[in-house]
Amino acid sequence: MNWGSAADFFAMGGYGLYVWGSYAVTAVCIAIELVSLARRRRAAGGPS
């Protein structure tokens, strides 16, 4: 295990902003895509 404590984990050796910035945006983008897919599916399947 690389990290002593949760604090170390989030600090990420001082690069926390960059590492978590990348992964957070990735998660947000994937979430946006999934939500838009669900909404599009409902719109397509709705009252035709």
Partner: protein, 256 residues
Amino acid sequence: MSSATREALPQGITWFKYAAPQTFFPLAGALAPWFAAIAVVLFVAGLYIGFFVAPTDAQQGEAYRIIFIHVPAAWMSMLIYLVMAFWAGVGLAFNTRLSHMMASALAPTGALFTFLALWTGALWGKPTWGTWWAWDARMTSELLLLFLYFGFMALQAAIDDPRRADKAGAVLALVGVINIPIIYFSVKWWNTLHQGASVSLKSAPTMATTMLTGMLVMVFACWAYAIAAALWRVRCIILERERRSDWVRDYLGAGR
């Protein structure tokens, strides 16, 4: 598929059966959740390896862990464009509407991965070179690839008739795929001639095996995710395009 082409085909080839949107729709519905599940499992495994198993890098410290999402995103952005161009080519050659729908379904996910590659590349560049955007050869080609994706989607959005939109998009995707290597090499020369080879985003410092496995697991996770997203989107496209047909009405009526 116009009736003339169907008669012309020898009865032996049955996989053409899946080329009909109606028969492919349930198949996509069945496969997509599986790929989504695989994606979740692989994501969790990949992140675990990336953060808890892979050691700290000698030169870059912890910042290098961004490669676990940056490199897969970059590879996926390229791979998805190639797959899109493949379906576009198949659609033009066999005049099968489903192949065009598949290409249109892949484009947004491809653009998403291209944007992620650019975003994570910039966040990785800042700690390593001190600038968000260093006009590195790969990053610049990635930016141009993003424009190609937007061009494809904008063209398809601008054309009302779905049949013309499919074929026009397909021609553009094929022209684009021929130009990608040309863009990549000219940007590479441009980069090396202007700044010399000093500033280039090396894919990663000498890769410890765990780093490599972490990255490969993430690549397969992104791959599974892209397939799931594309299958879901192609189902939406099929429903939108075939809204008038009876099977959609029955499906929607029954599946309420």
